[in-house]
């Protein structure tokens, strides 16, 4: 079991003796092998939620638990894919992917096989000895995803992973992620501000309010996806053409616009 | 967010405690060794004896002068050498940044001379100037000149092309371009260079005075050394450290001031 459970999570940020609430009570349960995307206005605390699951930040009150255990520190069972990739510039592609396995103390032979496999899945063959700076942004993010996936983590935490990529690369990566999730499903928490991306990838989309962040609505995508058989379509643009897709997207857009409007007043 | 995420800042009392422990450990160990008698007081005076010696040096002349007078003559030489380095280095650097031919001609000679440590000029300094003021000034100059020139050069070389184009379009002459475009645009780089210059010049001064001088803090230290008076040597080190720190603090303040003003206007 590797679910993620936010129970009454708040976060208060202190500066100059004043208190600024950034999260106002989050209750959310991500089921085992479920893909949940969080969208919301910038500064609403969505990234903070992900970092709490990763053990990089901590709630002021409430708890975040993964697989029933309260998160206290970062660890390889909760792999993070960062927006800016965060690859080690001094390590080759192979060594970047290998590093987490080495830290786990896995023996050499087993590591080799797993790295070769993930390099194949992510289409990184031929780049094993390249350094990150020699790769395009899209390739770098493939390495970052490979580095996370190779650990076979309980949960995968993705913080706007495609935010730094150009539109075309982004589309390719989204399709690849769907393919990867089919082959090897994981519990995923995915932060984005692209509504299309959220609806295309996620089983459920959590829409947050503006700061201090709270959950405005949780939109169920998985049932629509199954009912409308989106997986008949191989290409992202064909899925996005579906009336059901457009409907969901518009609904989420309206929720976000409502937050925006409140912001303007 | 700091690079040391996961490491919360230390609570204030712990930080202060460690800070005091560090300093206390240093001076405590020093005092302990000095008082234990394991090392004679001549070689390792206690911190307190050094302070007392400083008072003595301030009141009664040592090798001809009180410590203040030594300091004054050091600072005089320093200002002469550093001033000369800045006055020649900065304009030359700017011109090298502007005139391609001058750059090509001077750079190889400059690089060759720069490789020689400033202190290696001591024999020529002695030969040419004896123990007069020229010797130390030459050595300070050799220490302070390269960074002054290099930074002015870099500043001029990397001026935004659109500023130069604008100047050209308005028909500015070479002199005007240098004084009214390159110079103001390179001020941050020049000041950064002068700060390095000032530091290296101060170091070179100490070296020069150890060898070719008959007054100054370096001279005081060498004489303290021959008299095997560790306390005198340490007083010299303190004086040098304090003045060096003050020079750097002053130039840092100038730098910060310029950055603040630039921060609003330019960019």
């Amino acid at each position: 079991m590797s679910d993620i459970r936010f129970s009454g999570v708040t976060r208060v940020f202190q500066r100059d003796g004043r208190e600024f609430p950034t999260l106002a009570g989050i209750d959310l349960a991500v089921a085992d092998r479920e893909f949940v995307a969080i969208v919301g206005p910038s500064g609403c605390g969505k990234t903070t939620c992900l970092r709490m699951a990763a053990g990089l930040e901590f709630p002021t009150t409430g708890t975040v638990a993964v697989g029933g255990r309260i998160v206290e520190s970062p660890g390889p069972e909760r792999a993070v894919v960062f927006q800016q990739f965060a690859l080690f510039p001094w390590k080759s592609v192979w060594d970047n992917i290998d590093f987490g396995l080495k830290c786990k103390g896995e023996p050499g032979a087993g590591r080799r096989a797993r790295i070769e496999q993930i390099i194949g899945v992510m289409g990184l063959q031929g780049y094993e000895s390249a350094f990150p700076h020699q790769l395009s942004g899209g390739m770098q993010q493939r390495v970052a995803i490979a580095r996370a996936y190779v650990l076979e983590p309980d949960v995968l935490l993705m913080d706007e992973p495609f935010g730094a990529l150009d539109a075309q690369t982004r589309t390719v990566m989204q399709e690849e992620l769907v393919r990867l999730a089919r082959v090897n499903p994981r519990t995923v928490l995915f932060i984005t501000h692209a509504v299309d991306e959220a609806v295309y990838l996620a089983d459920r989309v959590v829409v947050m309010t503006r700061r201090p962040g709270a959950i405005r609505e949780i939109v169920d995508v998985a049932s629509v996806r199954r009912a409308e058989r989106w997986d008949r379509h191989e290409r992202i643009e064909d899925v996005m053409d579906q009336e059901s897709f457009v409907h969901l997207r518009t609904h989420i857009w309206r929720l976000l616009r409502e937050q925006q409007a409140r912001n303007d007043h | 967010m700091s690079a040391r995420s996961g490491q919360a800042p230390l609570p204030r009392f712990e930080a202060t405690g460690l800070w005091l422990a560090g300093l206390g450990g240093f001076f405590g160990l020093w005092t302990l060794v000095a008082l234990s008698g394991a090392v004679s007081a001549q070689f390792l005076p206690s911190p307190w004896a050094v302070v007392e010696r400083f008072g003595e040096l301030a009141r009664t002349p040592f090798v001809g002068h009180t410590i203040q007078e030594h300091l004054v003559s050091s600072i005089g030489r320093y200002l002469a050498g550093f001033g000369l380095a800045a006055m020649i280095g900065v304009p030359l650097g700017l011109m090298m940044g502007w005139f391609r031919g001058l750059d090509d001609a001077v750079t190889p000679l400059f690089e060759a001379i720069r490789f020689v440590a400033p202190i290696a000029w001591v024999p020529f300094a002695a030969l040419w100037f004896g123990t007069g003021i020229g010797g130390p000034v030459l050595i300070i100059f050799m220490g302070a000149f390269p960074p002054a020139l290099i930074n002015a050069y870099r500043g001029a070389k990397f001026v935004e092309p659109r500023l130069i184009e604008a100047g050209r379009m308005l028909g500015a002459s070479d002199l005007r371009m240098i004084t009214q475009v390159l110079l103001p645009a390179s001020v941050p780089s020049i000041v950064a260079g002068l700060r390095i210059s000032a530091g290296l010049g101060w170091q070179s001064l100490v070296g020069a005075e150890l060898i070719v001088a008959s007054s100054g803090i370096g001279y005081l230290m060498v004489k303290g050394q021959s008299a095997i008076s560790t306390a005198t040597v340490m007083c010299g080190m303190i004086a040098i450290g304090v003045v060096g720190y003050a020079i750097d603090a002053l130039l840092r303040a100038v730098e910060a001031h310029i950055h603040r003003r630039r921060g609003r206007n330019a960019r």
Partner: protein, 256 residues
């Protein structure tokens, strides 16, 4: 402008400078050769020091003496300095404990340690190594510390997420991340070591290039002074070049 053009001007200036030097010290004696040597004097001095020896030894012996001392002091200072810089950069406790002492010693220029080293350890090698150590230590610590502090927070987070800790973290994350700054520090350290050693040898030594300079100054021997200076420059330049080569080999990811 063609790329060869600048180099040609550079070579031309150097040749011209050498020619003017030869001209004004010999044919048109505007420069007093008692104050600055003629090319022939330099050549004579060079043959003397390489063949018969000068200041009690031949050239290679002086060069070896100085180089070995610099490398000893530099290596010790860098080992200690980098370790201390890593500790101070990474741990707030180590920083709080060590920083005040470091701030106290830091403004003292390396050359100012020379008299103290001589009082404590005499004119022998030990005093030289101490002085070089003090010179090389400060830049090594400061730059390593800066390198650690300049680490991208995400890199630190990624490494803790992947489970890196202990010696593996230091070896595979902390050191390579700080490596560019560490090498900047080492370059400054090496320059300071070399300058300081020459100064220390000028103040007093048995062998070494500084001692050659010192003897030449006392003998009023301009040719030998220039030979000494040239070799101080050459050795310093060679060491810097070697360090640059090591730097490129050590950080292959920064090439290209």
């Amino acid at each position: 402008m063609q790329p060869g053009h600048s180099a040609a001007i550079g070579v031309a200036t150097v040749v011209l400078a050498l020619a003017l030097w030869a001209l004004f010290t010999t044919a048109i004696p505007w420069i007093d050769t008692a104050r600055f040597p003629a090319p022939a004097d330099v050549w004579a001095a060079l043959t003397q020091i390489t063949v018969q020896g000068y200041a009690d030894a031949r050239l290679w012996r002086h060069v070896a003496q100085s180089s070995v001392l610099v490398l000893t002091g530099f290596a010790t200072a860098c080992t200690v300095g980098v370790a201390l810089g890593l500790a101070m950069g990474w741990s707030r406790r180590a920083e709080a404990l060590l920083n005040p002492v470091f701030l106290l010693l830091r403004p003292i220029p390396p050359l100012a340690w020379i008299p103290l080293a001589i009082v404590w350890l005499g004119l022998g090698d030990a005093a030289k190594v101490l002085v070089i150590f003090m010179a090389a230590f400060v830049p090594a610590v400061i730059n390593t510390y800066t390198g650690v502090r300049a680490m991208e927070p995400q890199i630190v987070e990624a490494s803790s997420m992947l489970g890196a800790r202990g010696p593996r973290f230091v070896r595979e994350v902390l050191v390579p991340a700080a490596a560019p700054h560490i090498f900047t520090g080492l370059r400054l350290s090496l320059q300071a070591s070399w300058t300081t050693l020459v100064a220390a040898e000028l103040v007093g030594a048995l062998y070494g290039l500084g001692q050659v300079l010192n003897n030449a100054a006392q003998d009023i021997y301009p040719g030998m002074i220039l030979v000494g200076m040239v070799f101080v420059g050459l050795c310093g330049g060679l060491m810097t070049a070697v360090l640059g080569w090591v730097e490129r080999r050590a950080m292959p990811w920064r090439a290209a």
